[in-house]
Amino acid sequence: MQIMVNKKSQTKIQQTAVMLIAVTLFFVLVGLFVLSFRLSGLKNEATTLQEQNAILLVTKLSNSPEFSCGESFSGKKINCVDADKIMMLREDITKYNNFWGVADIKIRKIYPTTDGDVECTLSNYPQCNVINLIQKGVVGTYESSFVTLCRKEIKDNSFYDKCELARLMVSYKTVQ
């Protein structure tokens, strides 16, 4: 009789223990879910802010003094990037590394087309199609806008303005 009562009690204790473990596991999972949901919301918000900053920057950058054509190419142009100026800026870009607060800034020529990607350096310019201005080597997402990429060309010993179509690309770091 005593043995049977003992066994019954043991089973009940085991049942309670299992219940307690299950309930704890359940609440831990719910807690994890709520926590990750809140964290993902914060991460999304941070990425959205970065994205908005990149969009604002990409729409205004071409008209900033460092990039804009000013009045060098027959009158005032909007969304116009002075390629010659950018090539010189590229040589001294370390001073500007944290100025715009983005991961990457590059200009990719779209038309006329070029075979493959040829990065612009002082030795191959203008026979190239990608000007990498800032490269922090961070994986990010690009926002881009169209710009006119202008430079001075020489023909028959006189200069003329040559404006091509390019994309100004700004990359921001996505919060993982």
Partner: protein, 163 residues
């Protein structure tokens, strides 16, 4: 006694199953909440900046007096039925150039976010080159119209990208 034990075991199994189901549902929710929707829209500023840059592009049509013409000038040259110094018709140059620029700038296809586009260039309400269209004109689009006013007439350049 034996029946009672069996009932208790069944209840335990049922409870365990419920815990597993709830855990799986929570994990599915977690996965969905963490996966980000991919961005598939065309932004208005892209279309607007495209038109502005397209008009400033230096064409291959040269005039001995003014040099190489921008697309903006080429539109008025085409309207005036003028020719380039090399004998090409300005309207042919404009059409070829517009087609080339749009094809490179707005890649239409199933892998692309762009499903189609249309470009209309007119002066004083009259189309100077045939409308350039490609792909499907879906219900979602972003468009922009640039108006140019000169003594020769009022030009309108209208571009729409469908996504």
């Amino acid at each position: 006694m034996k029946r009672k034990n069996e009932r208790a075991q069944e209840e335990m199994i049922g409870f365990g199953l419920i815990i597993i189901i709830v855990a799986v549902i929570l994990l599915i929710f977690l996965w969905f909440s963490l996966s980000k929707p991919s961005k598939q829209n065309v932004e208005s500023y892209e279309v607007e900046s495209f038109i502005g840059s397209f008009l400033q592009f230096t064409s291959g049509c040269e005039n001995s007096r003014v040099g190489y013409l921008s697309v903006q000038d080429l539109i008025y040259y085409c309207y005036g039925q003028k020719e380039c110094d090399d004998g090409r018709k300005s309207c042919d140059v404009l059409q070829e150039l517009s087609q080339g620029i749009i094809d490179e700038s707005w890649k239409v296809g199933e892998d692309s976010k762009i499903m189609g586009y249309s470009l209309n260039i007119s002066v004083d309400g009259k189309a100077i080159v045939p409308s350039l269209e490609k792909g499907n004109q879906t219900g979602n689009s972003k468009g922009y119209e640039e108006q140019l006013k000169k003594s020769q007439g009022s030009a309108s350049i209208k571009f729409s990208a469908y996504y």
